[in-house]
């Protein structure tokens, strides 16, 4: 595994709070810590409103962190930085957005969209070189040079997402944050884009943070997966381990909620349906945030926030069921 190297990104007790007026504070990301290693794909899953997109945007400094820190290649991402440092940062980290219909400027040609980063960083010496770079990028993502002079509306969703990927690759980044890159696409097109992202990762040695709510696709692409619930990370482990041996009750119910495209299996499957809705992140439950929907909630869950600890090697979880003294409970209550 790649985890014996130095981490590329270190997130340390990161918090991002939004002031929503009337003295209320929305804690979108609340005390999250994890590391991303070079060359890996880190999947981030959770329901809408759990803070996964906010976390992604805070990592790339689209949002300023409320507290805590993020380091990229041992340098802090947040805090005061000179213009040159900021430029360097934005070259190293790029983003692919969810909606390929909204994230491309419809009044710019494909060339201008892709070359915007090249221009901003002065990577091309002249017009000819700029165009050559755009052509090369288009071919890398499986489009061709005839597409260069067209406008975004002339492309299908999958093709647009390829343009978005080409734009991200234009400045030779090391780390790409993909925020739900495939959820706006059809199944057969999703597979095309995921295969392309995997191929590019192998060829260019990229590191991905892959944010999604589709667990089966996240499992397919990720080396390690973090599960978020209401602003905090509840479980983190290698992706196979997470699916074979989920520890947190939320992860278990999330996995059991995915419909599997296999009718016989679906008929025989015992489903653990979670009751109720996600509570409001403005006034989250005390202690463990999942306790209001958790089938195993105990008294301690309301009074104490569970500690983020390594239950098994490389498998982190925040749940009172895995406290030392509750060992017996966890064994008798496995789902």
């Amino acid at each position: 595994m790649k985890t014996d190297q130095n981490p590329l990104v270190v997130v340390n007790h990161l918090k991002k709070h939004f002031n929503v007026g009337k003295g209320q504070i929305l804690k979108a990301v609340d005390d999250v810590s994890f590391e991303i290693y070079p060359g890996e794909t880190f999947g981030l899953v959770g329901e809408s409103g759990c803070g996964k997109s906010t976390l992604g945007r805070t990592l790339i400094r689209l949002y300023d962190a409320t507290s805590g820190e993020v380091t990229f290649e041992d340098k802090a991402v947040h805090g005061h930085k000179s213009k040159a440092e900021l430029k360097q940062l934005s070259r190293s980290i790029q983003m692919i957005f969810q909606d390929p219909y909204a994230s491309l400027n419809q009044r710019m040609t494909v060339t201008d969209i892709i070359a915007e980063g090249i221009d901003a960083h002065g990577l091309a010496k002249n017009r000819k070189e700029r165009l050559e770079m755009v052509y090369a990028l288009l071919e890398t993502v499986g489009l061709n040079r005839n597409h260069a002079e067209r406008f975004p509306h002339e492309f299908s969703g999958g093709q647009r997402q390829r343009i978005g990927i080409a734009r991200a690759l234009a400045v030779n980044p090391r780390f790409i944050i993909a925020d739900e890159p495939i959820s706006a696409l059809d199944v057969s097109i999703q597979a095309q884009v995921v295969n392309l992202m995997k191929k590019l990762q192998e060829e260019l040695g990229l590191t991905y943070l892959f944010i999604a709510h589709d667990l089966s696709m996240v499992k397919h692409i990720s080396d390690r997966i973090g599960v978020m619930y209401l602003g905090s990370m509840v479980e983190l482990s290698e992706s196979d381990e997470l699916f074979e041996n989920p520890l947190h009750p939320y992860t278990k119910s999330l996995l059991s909620a995915i419909p599997i495209p296999d009718p016989k299996l679906e008929r025989s499957r015992e489903r653990q349906v979670l009751h109720g809705d996600l509570p409001s992140p403005i006034n989250p439950p005390s202690g463990c945030r999942f306790r209001t929907r958790c089938p195993f909630a105990m008294d301690v869950c309301a009074s104490q926030t569970p500690e983020w600890k390594e239950a098994e090697k490389g498998h982190w979880v925040a749940c009172h069921l895995y406290d030392e003294k509750n060992e017996a409970v966890s064994l008798s209550k496995t789902i």
Binding site: E47, S48, S156, G158, Q159, D186, V187, S188, I189, Q190, A191, Q192, V194, N195, K198, H213, L215, S216, M217, K219, H220, D240, F243, S253, L254, S256, A257, I258, P259, I260, P261, D262, P263, K264, L265, E266, R271, V273, L274, H275, D277, L278
Partner: protein, 335 residues
């Protein structure tokens, strides 16, 4: 078998500035009492247009060019609007994809539910409110008295979809059309809504037409499946036949492009290319341009249906006796 609903040779076109777009091209299917028929396909395959034709909710630019939709001895395709109004919402009702836009933001939940009851059952205010309370209770909304007086924005996404279901079920319809009922919802909420739909179906023996692109949802809900591509049904069969003995290469592609939760595959099977433009549909098989097994005949002639069982048929030239024998690549099917 006694069919509740029978769609025969349905053709629907949109007349736009760019010319005629043939969204639904010769679609036939039947629906029996108490069964769930799933219509799957990518966006633009005509599945929503088919369902809207049954409800006669098509826009001004669309026209049912040919075909019949038989329901209780009446042809819905040519029924006058006045009579259609007595069927819509009473005998056939619909659940839409996005509960945010399908509810009226300026009306309370109570008024929106009682509206149908007053219209179709000529109930007075207090009768209708009593029934509305019952309905909200049935769809699992806690505290229904309070909810009746609230507006849609005060409810979460899952709650809103429950309200939409309550409205759809208000008059005990015989047919319920659910157009991507869970696409806008998170997996845990999706599981809740699917469970709810199944339990209500068992209680009232409703027939459901489920429109979706999620094969997992199909495996969970459907008794029969129709696969649509470019305005045509390319394969139809019972859910087991379709998942375990699929005959059409497009169905193979759809099934294989889903990542498997319990297997590790290196590369996802992607279907290359994009669906054809229905303003100028191909004369032969619509899938020919993306199909790995295309023969000359595919481009020139639309394949006829071949019957594999009473319920299972597919439109593909590979099924013709003169075609080379090709089996579905790699071990698909049962796991």
């Amino acid at each position: 078998m006694n069919h509740l609903l029978e769609v025969k040779n349905l053709q629907v076109s949109f007349f736009t500035y760019a010319g005629e777009v043939q969204a639904v091209r010769d679609v036939s299917f039947t629906l029996a009492k108490g069964e769930t028929l799933a219509i799957v396909g990518e966006s633009g395959s005509g599945k929503s247009v088919t369902s809207k034709s049954i409800m006669r909710l098509l826009t001004q630019t669309a026209k049912i060019k040919q075909g019949s939709i038989m329901f209780e001895g009446k042809d819905l395709a040519s029924l006058p609007e006045k009579q259609m109004q007595n069927i819509r919402g009473k005998d056939i009702s619909m659940i839409f994809q996005d509960p945010m836009t399908s509810l009226n933001p300026t009306m309370t939940i109570g008024r929106q539910i009682t509206e149908v009851l007053r219209k179709h059952h000529q109930m007075n205010g207090s009768e209708a409110s009593r029934r509305a309370l019952e309905l909200l209770d049935q769809v699992g909304i806690p505290n229904p008295e309070k909810r009746l007086k609230q507006y849609p924005h005060q409810l979460s996404g899952g709650m809103r979809q429950r309200v939409v279901i309550a409205i759809a079920l208000a008059c005990d319809p015989q047919v319920l059309i659910a157009d991507e009922p869970t696409t806008a919802l998170d997996v845990t909420i999706q599981a809740q809504i699917l469970e709810l739909m199944k339990s209500l179906q068992q209680k009232f023996d409703t027939s459901i037409v489920l429109i979706t692109h999620d094969l997992g949802v199909v495996a969970n809900m459907a008794s029969r499946v129709a696969v649509m591509y470019a305005g045509k049904i390319v394969e139809t069969g019972s859910v087991d036949e379709l998942f375990y003995q699929p005959k059409h290469p497009y169905t193979w592609g759809l099934l294989d492009s889903m990542p498997k939760l319990h297997e590790k595959t290196e590369e996802l099977h992607a279907i290359p290319g994009t669906p054809p433009d229905l303003a100028d549909p191909p004369i032969g098989c619509p899938f020919a341009a993306r199909c790995p097994y295309t023969m000359d005949v595919c481009y020139d002639h639309m394949p006829p249906y071949t019957e594999h069982s009473d319920t299972h048929r597919a439109a593909c030239w590979l099924q013709d006796s003169r075609a080379p024998k090709i089996d579905r690549p790699q071990a698909g099917g049962e796991r």
